[in-house]
Structures are given as C-alpha cells and as structure tokens.
C-alpha cells in the first residue's frame, strides 16, 4: 500500500478565486494546499470545478497583504 503520508510537511496554502460572469467580481471560493504552483492549479481545478466559472485564479495565501483583520480596531 502507499508509503506516502497523507499530510505533507512543506505544503503551501493557496486561496482560490472565481467568478461566473464578467459582470461580477472575483470572490474567494475556497482554498487548497499543495507543494507547488502547478499542483495547486490542478487541485483548484479538480476541487472547485463543479460550477461553470468563467474565470478562476489562485493566490499564495502568504502573498496576500492584509490591512486589518476581524476584531482589530
């Protein structure tokens, strides 16, 4: 049987964004965890492809610059 662990130690978290029509803005539909960008693309498409999106994009979570978070003044 498989010798691989089901949870990878060096995985990167990616946020997944999509929209159904050109008129609406991209919004976050979920996230995936993968060791590199290629696999993250494949995982995002496999996981969130149930809707007919006209656009989908992924962003490394660490690249998101937060201005403030919930609970902060």
């Amino acid at each position: 049987m498989t010798q691989y662990k089901r949870v990878s130690g060096d995985a990167i978290e990616y946020n997944v964004f999509a929209r159904k029509t050109r008129a609406e803005p991209l919004h976050q539909v979920g996230s995936v965890v993968a060791p590199d960008d290629d696999l993250a693309v494949a995982y995002a498409r496999a996981t969130y492809d149930e809707e007919r999106w006209c656009e989908m994009a992924i962003v490394r979570k660490e690249h998101v610059i937060e201005l403030w978070q919930p609970g902060e003044p």
């Binding site: 049987m1 089901r6 696999l39 693309v41 496999a46």
Partner: protein, 241 residues
C-alpha cells in the same frame, strides 16, 4: 488496421486509466490528491465516451461481440491489467501514459480528419490539468520501476516505425508519427526516454502491446455492469430475466 483502430485504442486506454484513477480517490497521499484522482478519473471516463462516439462517424467500428466475454479483446495496455498497489504506479501512469495519450489526441486534432479535429479539442484543455498534476508529483520523486514500465508501454503504444500510426501520419490523418509522438512526450516531460528495446515481432498491433494478459476479472465484470447487478434488488433481477 485503420484510424478507427487507433481511436478505439485511445478510448479503451482512457476508460481503464479513468477506472484506475478512480480507485485511488480515497487512497491518495492528501485530500486534494484524492479529489484530483476522482476528477481526473471522471474526465478520462468522459473522454472515452466521446472517443467511442467517434467510431461510427469514422465509418468503421472495430468493436466485436467478443468484448462482452473476452477481457483480452479490450485494447488497454498491460499497465492497466491489475489495480495499482503503489502511489508511484499512479504517478507514472498520470505523468507518462496520460501524457502519451494526450500526444496522440493532439495528433488527431491537428490531423486532417474533421470529426476528430472538432470533437477531441476540448480534451486537450482538460488534459492540461492532468499533465500539471502528473509532472508535479513526478518531481517529488518516485521509484524507478513503474516509470520504466510506463515509458516502455508508451513507446510500444506509439507503434513501430513502419506501422499504421506512421502510415496515418504520412497520409496526413495524424499530425505526428511514432517518432514525433515520442519526441513530444520527451519534450512535455522535459526528459529523455530510457533506452527501450522492443521486439516488434512480439508486438500485438491490435492491442498495441507486447505483454500477454488482460484486465482482472472484477474490473471486467464492472465494465460489463455485472458488479452493479450484485446490488440490484431481486425484483429488478426477476424483471430482467
């Protein structure tokens, strides 16, 4: 031998690849890989249906009645004969065999036969994600044995230099022959194929493989709908008889 035989070979192989992928939908190394295995399995089963649907417009359907009773009449590669017991087998099939089938589909789409140009194009878009998945897992490092086997079976599947794939390429029906298909696979995977010595005299031009054998009995039963019948209510079985 004709273009229909090649299309049927792609269809049978995609059907088996889809089934074998799906068997890993709860056993892959991560939840994301589970979902990708299921999604790629569905893609390839869908592709096989489209390819079977191309046989009639191509004018010759090579499927005989023996496909109902003889698993060796199916044209899938030996790599799919038994369920995979190691994740490395999944990755080698995903990276090498799936990409080899995609190269042949590219050759059909860029060839001169209209029905294939139109119906197979969408597959190339979907296969991009299979390729990214396979290539990325390949980079993570897996054992060599399934990789070597997948390379041999891919090169065998492309066929001999003087076979019908080469002839179809000369006629323009396929945009690539065996040498170009192999070069395309090497280019995609950014690696040279290992030295492969093939005794073409032992090669079966219908099944496009040298190894004897056939898919396992349970999988063959599932393809024929026999596995599902086990779970059908007895009233349904009575109605059928």
């Amino acid at each position: 031998m004709s273009l229909s035989d090649v299309v049927l070979s792609i269809a049978d192989n995609k059907q088996m690849l889809g089934l074998r992928y799906a068997e890993w939908a709860t056993r892959a190394p991560s939840l994301e890989a589970d979902i990708a295995a299921a999604a790629m399995g569905l893609d390839d089963l869908g592709h096989s249906r489209v390819l079977y649907g191309c046989l009639e417009p191509l004018g010759a359907d090579p499927r005989g009645t023996d496909r109902e009773s003889d698993p060796a009449s199916l044209r899938a590669l030996a790599y799919f004969d038994e369920p995979w017991s190691e994740w490395a087998q999944f990755v080698a099939a995903n990276a090498i065999l799936d990409t080899a089938f995609t190269a042949m589909i590219e050759a059909c789409v860029n060839g001169s036969v209209e029905v294939l140009q139109h119906r197979l194009r969408k597959m190339l878009m979907e296969e991009r994600y299979h390729f990214l998945h396979g290539r990325s897992w390949l980079k993570s490092g897996i054992s060599q044995e399934p990789l070597d086997r997948a390379w041999v079976e891919a090169v065998e599947w492309f066929g001999p230099p003087d076979g019908e794939v080469a002839a179809l390429h000369r006629e323009g029906k396929l945009s690539m022959g065996p040498d170009e298909l192999r070069a395309r696979l090497e280019e995609q995977l950014d690696t040279k194929s290992p030295t492969v010595k093939i005794d073409w005299k032992k090669w079966d031009p219908i099944r496009r493989r040298s190894r004897p054998g056939a898919i396992d009995e349970r999988t063959f039963g599932m393809l024929r709908g026999l596995e599902e019948k086990k779970f059908a209510p007895s009233s349904a079985a009575a109605k059928e008889s």
